[in-house]
Subunit: 229 residues, 4 copies
DNA sequence: AATGAATGAGACTTCATTCAT
DNA sequence: GATGAATGAAGTCTCATTCAT
C-alpha cells in the first residue's frame, strides 16, 4: 500500500495537477491583462479556467499566490532569454545592446507579459515585502543587477563606454529608464500606435538608441566605433 | 477650473462650495497616495475631508470624477511649470534640458504628485477613453506634444541636436523614456533610496544626462558644445 | 447648517438608530439561542431583524461585536438584579441566599439568557482576552467577585457561616458550582424536565439548598439557626 | 467497542483498521481540545492523524460520528473508573465521596477529557437526540443515574445522609452541580489558576466538601460522624 | 483500502452609491 | 446644501464531503 505511492504511480496525478495549474495560471494571466490585475476576480479566473472556484484554492492559497506564481514564471523566462542573448555578445556595450534587444522583442511579441510586470509594479509597489521580490530575483538570475553594474565597469574598462560614468549610479539610472520606458509603452500600447502610427517597440528602440549613444565612448579619431555587438 | 475660481467669488455660496471641493480633493489626493488609488475608499476620503459620504456626491458624481479632477489640476500645474521653465531657454537642447529639470524637481519635491500620475496611468490605461485625456491635455497645454516635436526639429536645425534624429519618433521615444523613468522612480521611491543610498532624483538626472548626451550633436572640432541652456 | 446638528434635531435619528440596534440585537439573541451562537449566521440575523445584511454592518462591525454587545446587556441586567436582591438581606448567609434566588429565577424565567452565558463561556472560553470580560465586569458591577469574598468573611464573622471556611477559596468554589449548575441546567432544560418531570429551577434550588446547608454554621445548642434571610 | 477489539485480532486486516481508527480518534480528540470542537476542521484532523481526508470517511461517516465515538470512549472509561472507586466504599456517603474524588482527579489529570465533555454538552445540547446519549449511557453504565438515586436512598437509610432529602431530586440536583462545576472549571482552567493561584481541582474539592457537608446527616450527639469512606 | 481531485453550499464582509429628510 | 440610513452587488475564501481510480 505504501508502495503504491511511488513515483511511477504518482506521475499520472502530477501530470494532471500540473496541467490544471497551468490552466488556472494561463486564465489568470489573460484576465489580468484583459481586465486588470485588481479588477479580475477569482470568479472570472475560475470560470475562464474551467474549474470551480473552490478547486482553485486547492492549487493556490489565494489570489496573491497566483500573482506571485505568474511573476516567478515571467521572471524566469525573461532571465533565461536575457542570459542567452547576452552570452553571444562580447563587449560590454554589445551585451547591453543585446539586453535592450530582448526588451524590445518582449515589447513587440510578449506585450501582455510586459504589461503584467507593469501592473505588478504599480499594484505591489506599495505593499510587497521587497525581500520577497529580491528572493525570487536571487533564485532566478544569480547576480541580478550586480551583473549589470559589472557591465558598465567592464565597458568603461574596455573602452566601449564613456569614461565619466559612475558604474553604480549609471547602471541603475539607465536600467530604470529602459524598464520604465518599456513598461509604459506596453501599457499605452495600441493607444500610442493608433495615435502615432508607429509600433511601440520602434519607439522603444529609438529611445534605447539615444541612450546607448549617450553611454558610448566618444570617438577620438574620427572613426566611429562600431557599437553593435 | 479657472472659470470656477472666478465665479466663486461672486457669491459666498460658491466660495463655500469651492472650499469644500478643495477639501475633498486634497483628502482624496493624499489618500490615493497613501493607500493607493484603488484601495482608498470613499469612506476614507470622506472621513479625511470632514464631509459625510453622501455630501461628496453633491460635488462629484462618483469616485472617478474625483480622480479626473485631480488629474486635471496636476496637469495644469505641471504644464505651467514646464512652460515657465522652457521660456527661459534658448536652444532646443536648452529647452529640453529645462523640461528635464522640472521633471527631476517634481520627483524630488512633488513625488506624491508624480506617483499620482503613475497610478493613473496604470489604473486607467486600460479603460480611459483616450479622447478624454487628450481633451484635457489640449485644454491645458496648447500644442501639447506637438510642441515637443517642433523642439527636436528646431534642435536639429540649430545644430544643438544630432542630425540623424527623426523629429517625430525621437520625440516620442525620448519623452516616453523620461516619463517612464520618472514615474517608475517615484513609485519605487524609498525602496530604491534605501537600497542604493541615492535619492531617486539623482538617478533620474543621471538617466537624463545620458539621454541628452545621446541627443546632442557630436562636436566636430574638438570643442565641446555647451549644452546647458 | 452646523446648528441644525444639535441635539434637538439629532434626536429623531438617534431614536431610530437605537430601535434598529435593538431589533438586530434581539434577533441575534433569539437566533443564538435557537440555532446556537456559532451556527447562527449573519444572513439569518439579518433576515430575522428585517434589515439587509449590509445594513447590519452599519451598526455592528462584525458578528463578534454583536455577541459582546449582548453580553454586556446581559451582564448589566443581571448585576442590577443581583444588587437589588442582596440589598434586602442582612446577614451574609441571607445575601448569598438572595443571590441564589436570583439565579434560580433567571433559570426559570430567563432561561434563554442563561443559555446565552453558557454558550458564551463555551465558545469564548478558549479565545477571549480575559481582560475584555474583566473590563465589562468592572464597568458594571464594581467590586465584582471581590464583593462575594467579603460576604464569606462577613458570614464567618457574624456567625452565620461555618468557621472553617477559607473566604477566598470557598467563595470561588461555591460560586463556580452555582454558576456551573445553573448554566448546565439551562442548557439541558427541556430535556431534563421531560425526563425527570421536575422544572430545572427546582433542581437548582435543591442543589443550592444543599450547598447552603454545607456553608451554614452548625447549630451549637440544638436550636436550628434560621438561614433564610 | 469491546466487541471490535476482539474481532480485530482475528484478522490482520482488522488490526490495521483498528489502528487507523485510533489514530484518527486520537488526533481528533487532541484537536478538539486545542482548537475547539467546532473550529477543528476535518483537514486538520486528517493532517494530524497522517491519513488523507477522504480516507477518514472509510472509518467514520462524518465528523459527528467521530465526536460520538470519542464520547463513547470517554464515557466507558469514566464509568469504569467510577465503578472501581465506588466499589471500595461502604456507606452511601462514602461512595459519593469516592465519586467526587474521581471527578476531582479527572479535573487534575484528564482535564482535556473533561473539557471534551463540556464542549460536547454545549455543542450538542441543542440537537442531540437525547435517546442517543441515553443509549450510550445505558450500554456502558448499567443503571446509570438510577444507581445514584439508590445511593441517596441508601444513605438516608443507613443514617449517613440527612433525613430530609428527596432521593430523586437531590440526586439530580447534586450530580448536576458537581458536573457543572467540574466542567466549568475544566473550561476555565488556566485562566482561573493564573488569576487565583489555586489549581482548579482544589476549587472543585472545596465545592464538593461544602456539598457533602450539606448532604451529611447532622451529628446528634456531639461526636462527628466520620464521612470519609 | 487509500487517496487525489473536485465541488456545492455557504459564510462573512466591503463599498460605492442612492434617497428621503 | 448636508446628511443619516440603507442597500445591491460583489468579492474572497472555507469546509465537509463525494467520487473515480
Amino acid at each position: 500500500m505504501a508502495k503504491r505511492n511511488t513515483e511511477a504511480n504518482r506521475h499520472p496525478y502530477e501530470a494532471h495537477r500540473e496541467r490544471q495549474r497551468r490552466r488556472i495560471l494561463e486564465a489568470a494571466e489573460r484576465l489580468f491583462d484583459e481586465r486588470g490585475m485588481d479588477r479580475a476576480t477569482m470568479a472570472e479566473i475560475t470560470a475562464a479556467s474551467g474549474v470551480r472556484a473552490s478547486t482553485v484554492y486547492q492549487y493556490f492559497s489565494n489570489k496573491d499566490a497566483i500573482v506571485w506564481e505568474i511573476l516567478e514564471g515571467v521572471f524566469a523566462e525573461a532571465a533565461a532569454r536575457i542570459k542567452a542573448a547576452m552570452e553571444g555578445a562580447e563587449t560590454a556595450l554589445g551585451k547591453i545592446t543585446a539586453l535592450v534587444d530582448v526588451m524590445a522583442e518582449d515589447l513587440a511579441r510578449r506585450r501582455a507579459t510586459v504589461r503584467f510586470m507593469a501592473q505588478f509594479d504599480a499594484m505591489y509597489a506599495r505593499e510587497w515585502p521587497a525581500e520577497r521580490l529580491i528572493a525570487i530575483e536571487a533564485r532566478i538570475s544569480k547576480g541580478g543587477f550586480a551583473q549589470f553594474r559589472k557591465l558598465i565597469r567592464d565597458g568603461v574598462a574596455d573602452g566601449s563606454l564613456r569614461s565619466d560614468l559612475d558604474a553604480d549610479v549609471t547602471m541603475h539610472a539607465v536600467m530604470n529608464a529602459l524598464i520604465g520606458a518599456q513598461r509604459r509603452l506596453a501599457m499605452l500600447g495600441d493607444r500610442v500606435e493608433k495615435q502615432y502610427g508607429k509600433p511601440v517597440d520602434a519607439l522603444f528602440r529609438e529611445a534605447s538608441r539615444v541612450i546607448l549613444l549617450g553611454l558610448r565612448a566618444e570617438k577620438k579619431d574620427g572613426k566611429r566605433r562600431k557599437w553593435k555587438a
